[in-house]
Symmetry: C2
């Protein structure tokens, strides 16, 4: 059964693709909580792995802070408490008995971490601190939930938290955060715009934040991540002070920035087409699938060559899969792996064995090239680059063609309505 | 201040080492829940990474199942419910409102996963299933908690779950599980004994389990992990059935096996000495520390050589740290990095610069070797092997010298008392 058109009926396309292409299973009987299948989970792990690598390169260290927050610590910063009280789950008992205290399931870890920072920091020599963790957090979303994009258990929330001696240092850290996220979304081939949020949409407990937005196929903007300047609000609530080189005690300045598995939902949405997912090669759980084309003769030789190429590519560090299933035709295999978004397919039949060549098919353009066995790795690397360029070009075009420039609100709303969505710009 | 003796006063030694050597911070104000500092967290990540690699090599795939379990699913298997009801946390509200249903924080994921397995499995072609996940789980321990070893939030519970068509397949899987865990503990240089547990100590909902035990410095045995044959108990509770090749519908057979961050607490305990931690090279967050020995002259050349060696070792894939702090003497640096368990230290001073050599000191034997710059990588690899052998030899000796052979219970208890602990064997 063909997929619905991605642009005309995005919501249905998205539900079908995430559910049927081995990404998630939404039949788990709690609203907004999903089972991630191995194929989808691998894509998620590779995606978050890129961000973790970038954070480490910029001097952040990974740590772990507990999931349960004592109520009295959660309540210390009043804006934060107010902002999160509707969506924060509470634990007050075990199955068999009531507990003496109440605990909250972290919706984000500011309060947990900053309580500890107040113990860790005493001198200007302790600064800056640049930490991150990738953890599950819980938010009782009252809006409609959507698989991966809006959930109640966020299973991979990557949150970085930094502490500084001066407001200038914190500002510089905000710039670094923006740089890290820009590189991250670039590697995922997701074009974005950055907005400084207006006061009424600022993170609870923050001075201001920059949000990254992408444009989905239904022409709606979606938030990808936030880089937040917390100023001294938490420092004052948690009494995070240090003795400066001049001997005086001062409150610290803080920033934080966060991204979640939502980026995987976004990259699936943005890069896919009407045949299914197209994974960028760097986050594809399977980068190359090998499909034997059994001719009337030489079946053994074909399978032998498939196995050899498989072993060779595996050794070269590619994520490669050999689809050796006998009961399924090559054509059906093509459709299946196209649906799952594998960027390259290698076909090996009688001709390929006889001529010492392989046929490589691209997922993005459905074009085939034939190359000699010797040129294989080099060609794959080149095609990965070309596929990435093509995916980025398409995504960029989509975003840019839906940025609407207007000189006033009224004109803007008209343009927005006519375009059926998009992003409004007021120069 | 010197450490207490590891064997005479293990508990104090352990508390001091884990708290002061950058592993954890137990000042987080919830009993049994710890903050992991970057250094400790890195050791944990490397350790669990070894297990995940082994599980993948044996054909297991990583997935993710939600943390909150609806009460009615949790209650399906009666032994399981009874076994875990005392230690399982309950969520029934958000800060601002009561929820319509009750949810439990997973103490382990049998019920969450097996509910899904009942949806996934319909045919013998769907079997076997071999999945794992590494997640946080919660157990309200009523016994005294100990940092890392006995906690209420287990932050890295690696649980594998398998499903099979026949009891023989499940038995074979149990053997595979034992093999994987044996290799895992071997790589951590932790000698172990395996026991089939008596009925009164069997996992809730299981037919039988094999437990791995190590011997701690206080001569008490500690459980490292379990490999569990679940038989058909959960299959019947969750109606997990498949249509076999003979057309008949049958219940599946299941196994599961689990390990947690406790292994990091155990390896710190077993390998450490009275100067602190000794990390096995394969899980050491820092494998090599470079300490410049500033002479009266040539300071620039010394620092330059340190930086060169640092870059070179980093490029070769070693986890290396250059301790360039100026205000601290080399002697104090030695003590600090010995305390933190870095397996090798490289010292570079005037002589090392003049002669084109480096001095390498071993953490386990405090022996130094001097090698030419050219031989560096090769020597490091050899020393890593030798350190691993030495650590394993010591640990094995400790275990074996505390296995007490007795011909009856009475004699056994006498021997145990006289030895101040150990493991009793009745041939």
């Amino acid at each position: 059964m063909p997929l619905p058109d991605k642009y005309k009926n995005f919501s249905e396309w998205y539900e079908k693709v995430t559910e049927e292409a081995e990404i998630i299973d939404k039949r788990y009987p709690v609203k907004g909580m999903l089972v991630w299948k191995p194929y989808g989970f691998k894509a998620l792990k590779l995606t978050i792995g890129i961000l973790e690598r970038l954070l480490e390169e910029y001097g952040h260290q990974e740590a772990y802070f507990p999931m349960l927050v004592p109520e009295e610590i959660f309540a210390k910063e009043k804006d934060f408490l107010e902002g999160f009280s509707g969506e924060t789950f509470v634990v007050e008992r075990t199955i068999s008995k009531k507990l003496a205290r109440k605990f909250l399931l972290r919706p984000t870890s500011e309060t947990v971490m900053y309580y500890m920072f107040s113990l860790w920091i005493t001198s200007y020599k302790d600064l800056p601190i640049k930490l991150y963790q990738t953890v599950n957090v819980f938010r009782y979303e009252t809006e409609q939930t959507h698989p991966i994009l809006r959930v109640r258990e966020i299973i991979r929330f990557n949150e970085a938290h930094t502490v500084h001696a001066t407001p200038e240092d914190a500002e510089r850290q905000i710039m670094e955060g923006l740089e890290i996220y820009s590189k991250f979304f670039d590697e995922l081939l997701i074009p974005y715009i950055i907005l400084k949020t207006p006061p009424w949409d600022t993170f609870s407990g923050a001075e201001y934040n920059f949000d990254f937005f992408a444009l989905m196929p239904d022409k709606k903007a979606i938030e990808l991540g936030s880089v937040i300047n917390l100023g001294q609000k938490f420092a004052k609530a948690f009494e995070i002070k240090f003795q400066d080189s001049d001997g005086k005690w001062k409150y610290v300045y803080q920033t934080c920035y966060g991204v979640s598995e939502r980026v995987v939902g976004v990259l699936i949405s943005i890069h896919g087409d009407n045949r299914g997912i197209i994974f960028p090669p760097n986050v594809a759980p399977i980068q190359i699938v090998i499909v034997p084309i059994p001719g009337e003769e030489m079946l053994d030789k074909i399978l032998e060559k498939c196995r050899k190429i498989f072993e060779r590519l595996k050794k070269s560090g590619f994520r490669v899969h050999l689809d050796g299933r006998r009961e399924i035709t090559p054509g059906r295999k093509y459709y299946w792996w196209e649906f799952l978004g594998v960027p390259l397919r290698i076909e090996i039949g009688v001709k390929e064995v006889e001529e010492g060549r392989v046929t490589i098919a691209r997922r993005d353009l459905f074009k085939r090239v034939v190359v000699s066995d010797e040129e294989l790795e080099e060609t794959i690397r080149r095609l990965f680059r070309e596929i990435s360029e093509e995916l980025y070009r398409r995504a960029k075009k989509w975003l840019e063609s839906n940025i609407l420039t207007a000189s006033n609100i009224e004109e803007g709303l008209k343009l927005y309505k006519k375009n059926g969505g998009g992003i409004l710009r007021f120069p």
